[in-house]
């Protein structure tokens, strides 16, 4: 391509990017830079903040609460991401075909994403209460029990994971449905004519063509998972004894309860570093498998 055309296209590209990037730069990147600067200070929100260099970051290394929250969050992400993405893909494939009540099923599976998580967490807390909740009431009738429910240190994390999966699966499913829309029908038909069975069709046609969507879904799913907050806040308050405390909960407490905004900012940027690393790995993985025209 000639340099003139290249330059014109670059200018056009920047023109397309300009509105969105302006907004993001002013209202997102600039505050983020502020937060980055704060992470090198002992900011307590009000009053003077003094520069402390990397002190906040080194403090993280020996902070047990941080390590614990990181462990919890990583564990949470490790379980909920693959499970919800796999379920989402499964449901998307099922509900992309002709099926009675397809539209209704799609709506139902998406429903958990429609209401605010804060409100549905209240519903789940009521339902899962061992003494007054419906779930245990029904289970008791058939001889089972949820024991102490979310109050049991061993079951608190699985319970909040379940709520997270419940909430996001429909959301990822709809993304997959959108992705499936972009697979031209004639390609699929060609595969059928070629004699490929459903599994073969999926493996050699659908899955590769979905790689763009899958990359998106996996990265978004892991970003969401690493920022989990709402259902823990309502259902377990991070307990029992920090078993379900996630990084964002710790950041929230450190910043807005203890007023240690400098340290909270350092924690946040450490979180960003982790998520970024994870995302770059995923991008790299998918780049080598991408289907581009």
């Amino acid at each position: 391509m000639s340099r003139r055309i290249q330059r014109r296209r670059t200018r056009t590209a920047l023109a397309f990017l300009a509105p969105a990037l302006t907004v993001i730069t002013v209202f997102v990147l600039w505050p983020m830079a502020s937060a980055l600067r704060a992470s090198f200070t002992d900011s307590r929100i009000l009053g003077e903040a003094e520069w402390v260099g990397f002190e906040n970051y080194t403090r993280l290394l020996s902070d047990d609460r941080f390590t614990n929250a990181l462990k919890n969050t990583a564990w949470y992400a490790l379980v909920t991401t693959p499970v919800s993405v796999a379920l989402a893909l499964g449901f998307a494939l099922l509900l992309n075909r002709r099926l009675p009540g397809r539209g209704a099923f799609r709506a139902v599976l998406f429903f958990p994403f429609v209401a605010s998580l804060g409100v549905v967490s209240i519903a789940w807390a009521f339902l899962l209460d061992p003494q007054v909740g419906l779930v245990n009431h029904w289970l008791n009738q058939i001889g089972l029990s949820i024991g102490d429910g979310v109050r049991d240190p061993d079951w608190a994390m699985p319970a909040v994971m379940l709520v997270g999966i419940w909430r996001n699966t429909g959301f990822f499913m709809v993304m997959y449905l959108a992705g499936l829309q972009s697979i031209p029908r004639d390609i699929r038909e060609a595969a059928v004519i070629d004699g490929a069975g459903p599994v073969g069709r999926f493996r050699y046609v659908t899955w590769p063509l979905l790689s763009n969507t899958t990359m998106f879904v996996m990265i978004i799913a892991s970003i969401f998972a690493f920022q989990a907050f709402d259902q823990m806040y309502v259902m377990t308050a991070g307990g029992p004894f920090f078993r379900t405390e996630t990084l964002v909960m710790l950041i929230f407490d450190t910043g807005f309860r203890d007023f240690e905004m400098g340290y909270a900012s350092a924690m946040s940027w450490a979180l960003v570093a982790i998520i970024l690393l994870l995302s770059l790995v995923q991008i790299g993985y998918f780049r080598s498998r991408a289907v581009r025209y």
Binding site: V23, I24, V108, F110, F126, F252, A264, S268
Partner: protein
């Protein structure tokens, strides 16, 4: 037979998935006393419509509904356009620094809002935008999520139509608007739905930016039914149910447009 099994599985999944909403509906149709006195049942012992009526009285529900429609609606419409343009640029144009810029955009998704809340608020104060519609809307009209989403989608679209357009001498903008956007309709609608949902249910942002009750959105209004030690569950659930109905409608409307695979007649 296999289809039958699939349907059964879906029905079971649906029952589990909908359980909290059935509870919400039930709680909204009962008195607080009935709910707390007989919690282990879905059937209202004391049925009442009062919660749905009182919700309008106890908070300026109508006004806040309007605010939410305006806020979420405007943000959705504008952000879909801006995000699509940017996503298209990332997908289809090659320019120096594209990779770095894209990663930078992604990074904005990763920092928890807890630590950017105060700087953003200070910025809005300096602009004089606190308690104003621009302050509520403008920071939201472009977001990394949408840009990422549209980029992925555009990556998967065939280039033939675009190239044909360029050969015909159409401007890039025209190609984007007339050729690519219609092809991307499912993704555009989906993104619109997501942005609508996210902003419709967003509690923290509108709460921090607006302090006057008349300017507030529904989630903020509903949060008033929660106390520090208790909650008025009937009212809260009734309000939440009313608030999610428009979202259900939006979802159904969007899903209607999802047919099996795009028509590829345009490729000829």
């Amino acid at each position: 037979m296999r289809r039958f099994i699939v349907v059964i599985v879906l029905l079971l999944a649906s029952a589990v998935v909908m359980l909290p909403f059935v509870w919400m509906l039930s709680a909204s149709l009962r008195t607080q006393g009935d709910l707390l006195g007989n919690p282990a049942t879905l059937w209202p012992g004391e049925f009442t419509w009062d919660n749905y009526l009182d919700v309008w009285r106890r908070i300026p529900f109508g006004r806040q509904l309007l605010n939410t429609v305006v806020y979420a609606g405007v943000v959705t419409c504008v952000s879909v356009v801006l995000d699509s343009m940017a996503g298209y640029a990332f997908a289809r144009f090659e320019f120096r620094g594209r990779g770095v810029l894209f990663v930078l955009v992604l990074v904005t998704l990763m920092l928890p809002i807890q630590v950017t809340l105060i700087p953003i608020f200070q910025l809005l104060t300096d602009l004089g935008w606190v308690n104003s519609l621009p302050g509520l809307i403008v920071p939201r009209i472009a977001d990394a999520f949408g840009i990422f989403f549209m980029r992925q989608f555009f990556l998967g679209l065939p280039r033939d139509l675009e190239d044909a357009g360029r050969l015909d001498g159409a401007s890039e903008f025209r190609i984007w608007l007339r050729i690519m956007m219609p092809l991307a309709l499912p993704a555009v609608l989906t993104l619109g739905l997501f942005n609508l949902l996210y902003n419709w249910n967003d509690l923290l942002w509108p709460l921090v930016v607006t302090t006057e009750e008349q300017m507030r959105t529904l989630p903020a209004g509903l949060a008033l039914f929660k106390g520090q030690h208790s909650a008025e569950y009937g009212l809260l659930m009734a309000g939440a149910t009313l608030a999610l109905l428009p979202m259900v409608v939006a979802f159904v409307l969007v899903q209607r447009r999802f047919v099996e695979g795009i028509a590829t007649t345009g490729l000829k």
